[in-house]
Symmetry: C2
Subunit: 234 residues, 2 copies
DNA sequence: TGACTTTCTATGTCTAGACTTATTGCTGTT
DNA sequence: AACAGCAATAAGTCTAGACATAGAAAGTCA
């Protein structure tokens, strides 16, 4: 994380400004010197300073406004980033053998909650898929997915027994926008059966919905095995 | 999300490349024209094309390597971003009145799990704080926090009854690095009492740990009220 | 006093050109 | 066939300069 001596100049400048903030040389709400001045101070072009400050603004450390200048954020709303994982890679990264089982795959009319999530009209016919992903034979994640065949006609020819839906979609349906929601739920009867846990067990639930230019592609509810932890950083 | 006609050129280029990927004009693993060619095609400077492609690479859509060129990612590991929220703002954003109550604040020897999380040695003395945050008088979040007084001597003088720890820290201890973990747990006796739910209720748990240049600042376990949903996007 | 206009400044963005550097793929040697 | 050395290439980065534009501050008029 600490920018080494060989790091690009913009990184070094960002690191130095970050240091001045963290070590409270510059305080909350303070206006910092403008780009031109910092450019002189650091012996860099203004574009380079601009890049560095943009970076810190993206991190939430700085507030920048035209003409008004750059200020240290008063209540820095920091942002964190996480990778949307591919189940198989995730399981294999933990040193386990991946396998999966398709529980059901059929076309069904859209249920109300899925309609709400996707914005699709009631009565639409979607492909409904349920599958369980295993690591070393133990249930890892239970997937309950709805796929919009209108935005993705190729679905008809896909065999999710061979390649799991997660990867098939990643490879066949790049999306423009995704929503992810984390929540917790007590395992219901189906969750419990699929994940081989007792009913009521607390599970981390991920809801993920993706869109491309034709509309919603897919929405999925992922129930993770107990003990599962999702990490993010910075 | 769709870059309008007035959007900056780099955004337009990014949007166009994104379109070619989503509409499968360019396929998985394909090498795309190099920056110089795209610059000519789009009538822009190479730096502008570079900015656009960097953006897409950060999104995970492209893989870029020196000399080897730019390729469409085969298994795009997409990234999503969320804001690390300030409890009070979060509650007020939902139109509720914020209040909080400090349950306990004392110095205690570090427990094992906190030592593991922070990397601090066993035997360290930390400030241990427990508080509940309420929205319209109903429990919203139960906070169990450990603060490293070594990295943050000012803690001694802080009154968390007046300003909650979350905001005090945001304003007094900007961090260089943060870890966030999501998991689920059944409410134990204390969780149940604090959040006024029945034991065993599934709760979304957030663990957040922050560091500055002096070492770990604080680590906190946040137990959210049932029904709480954490959202991320893109 | 308040509402409108103008001016001016700091950031936002782009350009053309240059230099740096990781990698690839070739070449000639063992 | 294996390997070392070398040149070509595409991305990574920076610079100096330019123009655009939001919005704060000052000035103008009713």
């Amino acid at each position: 994380m600490t920018a080494g001596p060989t790091a690009p100049k913009a990184q070094l400048i960002a690191a130095e400004v970050r240091r001045r903030i963290v070590e409270r040389e510059w305080l909350q709400g303070d206006r910092i010197p403008d780009e031109a001045d910092l450019a002189v101070e650091f012996g860099a072009a203004r574009a380079t300073v601009n890049k560095a400050l943009q970076l810190l603004a993206d991190e939430g450390l700085l507030d920048r406004k035209r003409r008004a200048g750059t200020r240290i954020a008063v209540n820095p709303v920091r942002k964190a980033t996480f990778s949307i994982p591919i189940v198989r890679e995730q399981i294999e990264a933990e040193g386990m053998a991946y396998s999966h089982r398709v529980i059901a795959q059929r076309d069904s009319p859209i249920p109300g909650d899925v309609a709400a999530r996707t914005g699709l009209p009631e009565g639409s016919l979607l492909t409904h898929l349920r599958a369980v992903h295993y690591g070393d034979g133990k249930p890892f994640q239970f997937e309950d997915r709805w796929i919009n065949r209108t935005a993705l006609p190729q679905v008809a020819g896909a065999d999710f027994r061979a390649l799991n839906a997660n990867e098939w979609l990643v490879q066949n349906a790049p999306y423009l926008h995704a929503d992810v929601e984390f929540s917790a739920a007590n395992a219901d009867a189906r969750d419990a059966r699929m994940l081989q846990v007792r009913r009521g067990q607390a599970l981390l639930i991920l809801h993920r919905t993706t869109w491309n230019d034709l509309g919603p592609i897919t929405t999925v509810r992922l129930a993770c095995h107990p003990g599962y932890v999702m990490s993010a950083a910075s």
